[in-house]
Symmetry: C2
Subunit: 352 residues, 2 copies
């Protein structure tokens, strides 16, 4: 961990749908908590810009992003834009170009939060794990193609690309995170009985890198079986490491069982710090509720805490987490607006 | 639906682990219920044979299997056999060679069955849907490979192969199943915002084939979001259609939320009847409890019901399902052995 950053050059991509609303609350809490000098630059990226100019992420903007200490992203995506355009050309392009090879997604059931699970029965000791999702390989590379599109002979392929380089750096990061936790347990999720080439690479890498971490115990679960465990025994997990697509799937389920994507934060992290990391709620742009002050900003606020932690400002990160925990514990059936939730957490974090 | 089969030439592959125990109960119930003349041939396939002879599925056995009306499979897989060998060379080989392009997996929460979900809150109207999983394409084709294995330059790929032919026949089957159900609703699960080539093929095919089924309403969910729905609102689903890998993942989760894989039945179906279909519990060989009479045979017994239904013996299928439902409704905390459960269901099905 580097020394705490005293100045934070922050790029903000509010994005589409509820993105601007939740980002506003994230920034409110950031301002309330941090003593760092924060310089913010807002980038107008997403559906509006694409409609107006056809641009998703101009090269010049990508280069500007590189000059920041971190990026805060709201949400990307709109039903008026063809599927995949903003996802691949904007969101995934940032993750790939800035080498965000660790997509870090904590899953914690905070006290007072309702889970769809019968928690007393299936998770009596609570739920508290973190998923280390590989972020720059797997089926997300855009490799693949289509032939004879629109004919009865159409053929479409998607290629999952996995390298020892990419897998090893992810696995090592996951082991280090497991090592730093109380339970020191790492579970690899894959499907090596069917996806043998990639599966065996992941498996061997976990075995080999594991020798550097003798205190960490390891387990393996097929991704299908893992969804069963997430529903029936989520407390078994401490750190999960998995590929980009399996990670995408299980982190949505993990969010669901810990109270919903309204609470799920994530970091797209470049651990080598060769480029800024990006923090974003796991949820999408939710166009159906955009602009109504209904969105829960908690996931974004927790993403701000992850951002501060990444910048070495651990105390401030903890204060936000504690404020969120206190707010969650005291939530009643009274519906609060997006900004009321932000106000409450900002106030608690300032006192905390 | 063809006329009810009066003679059933049945191939039985009991397989590994708990396979033989649960298959014995499935056959017990079959014998108790059916008035068809059943001729059974047992095939010794699985870990034992592989250890003894190195064989997984000899070509001659595959040809013999073709001469049957249906196949009942217990479970395949053993920790003493390298991962992927029995899965690919035996189980997947049968599914592919016999063109089991519909992998049908009902998910129903029977009265009296405990779900890990807080059902009163998240599924007050019950859970009753069926997943139509494509069975012969997607990431399951074994396409892909590895280069420079064991070196820092290792590269491993997995190729998802999707054809209009394969997708269309699956989608049409799923629409027909939706059409025959009360709610007439079909949900496509995919990830077309990232896996664009395959995703767009699936999406377009659903739109086009849907025109043949004007009464069926359709919806789409990304596979990651679908896991959230399965945990928080599973009642929304009626028929799900999806690819081989997504289907594998969501059917384990579907089994979990409807009471566990001890109850989940499946059919590997060749709807064109150019080869026998194969029925099997969704669970695996569970070597940790094998030979102890602890396995729940219910999933296999329900798979026998699907087998009878496939052979047009609808009444007998319903009698088994009703007997299972009655047994599940009356289960207490008293632990019963595998054969006691089979006895009870066989007795109820005979009276029913
Ligand atoms: C929007 C989409 C491209 C993205 C992903 O699949 O990674 C999202 O689901 C996520 O998990 O951040
Ligand atoms: C054993 C394995 C190859 C198989 C699959 O992935 O299809 C199993 O998980 C299943 O769902 O039937």
């Amino acid at each position: 961990m580097s020394n705490p950053a005293e100045t934070v050059n922050l790029a903000v991509i509010a994005g589409d749908g509820i993105g601007p609303e939740v980002v506003a609350e994230g920034l409110k809490v950031l301002d309330a908590v941090t003593t760092a000098k924060v310089a913010r630059t807002e980038y107008d990226l997403g559906a509006r810009r694409w409609h107006a100019t056809g641009e998703t992420l101009p090269d010049s903007v990508l280069e500007e992003l590189r000059d920041h200490d971190a990026i805060l992203l709201g949400a990307i995506g709109d039903p008026t834009v063809p599927s995949g355009v903003l996802e691949r050309q904007l969101l995934l392009r940032i993750r790939f170009e800035l080498d965000h090879y660790i997509n870090l997604r904590p899953a914690k059931l905070f006290p007072g939060v309702a889970s769809p699970l019968d928690v007393q029965r299936v998770a009596p000791d609570g739920i508290d794990f973190v998923v280390v999702r590989e972020g720059t390989e797997g089926p997300y590379t855009g490799n693949g193609g289509a032939l004879r599109v629109g004919t009865p002979q159409e053929l479409a392929t998607e290629v999952s690309v996995n390298t020892r380089f990419g897998v090893e750096r992810t696995v090592r990061d996951a082991f280090a995170r497991a090592q730093a936790r109380e339970r020191k347990h790492l579970t690899l999720l894959h499907k090596h009985n069917v996806l043998s080439y990639a599966g065996h690479l992941w498996r061997r890498t976990v075995e080999e890198v594991g020798q550097e971490f003798p205190e960490v115990t390891t387990a393996y679960a097929h991704v299908d079986a893992a969804t069963i465990y997430l529903a029936t025994d989520p407390g078994r997990f401490d750190v999960i490491v998995t590929d980009n697509l399996f990670g995408d799937i299980v982190t949505d389920l993990a969010a669901a069982v810990t109270g919903g994507i309204g609470l799920a934060a994530s970091g797209n992290i470049n651990p080598d710090r060769t480029a800024p990391s990006m923090f974003e709620p796991v949820h999408g742009s939710a166009p159906d509720i955009a602009g109504q002050g209904k969105a829960d900003p908690t996931a974004t606020i927790l993403s701000v805490a992850m951002l501060l932690e990444h910048l070495g400002r651990i105390d401030e990160a903890r204060r936000i987490e504690n404020a969120v925990a206190a707010d969650l514990a005291s939530r009643s059936d009274t519906v609060r607006s997006t900004s009321e939730v932000g106000d409450a957490i900002a106030a608690a974090a300032t006192q905390g």
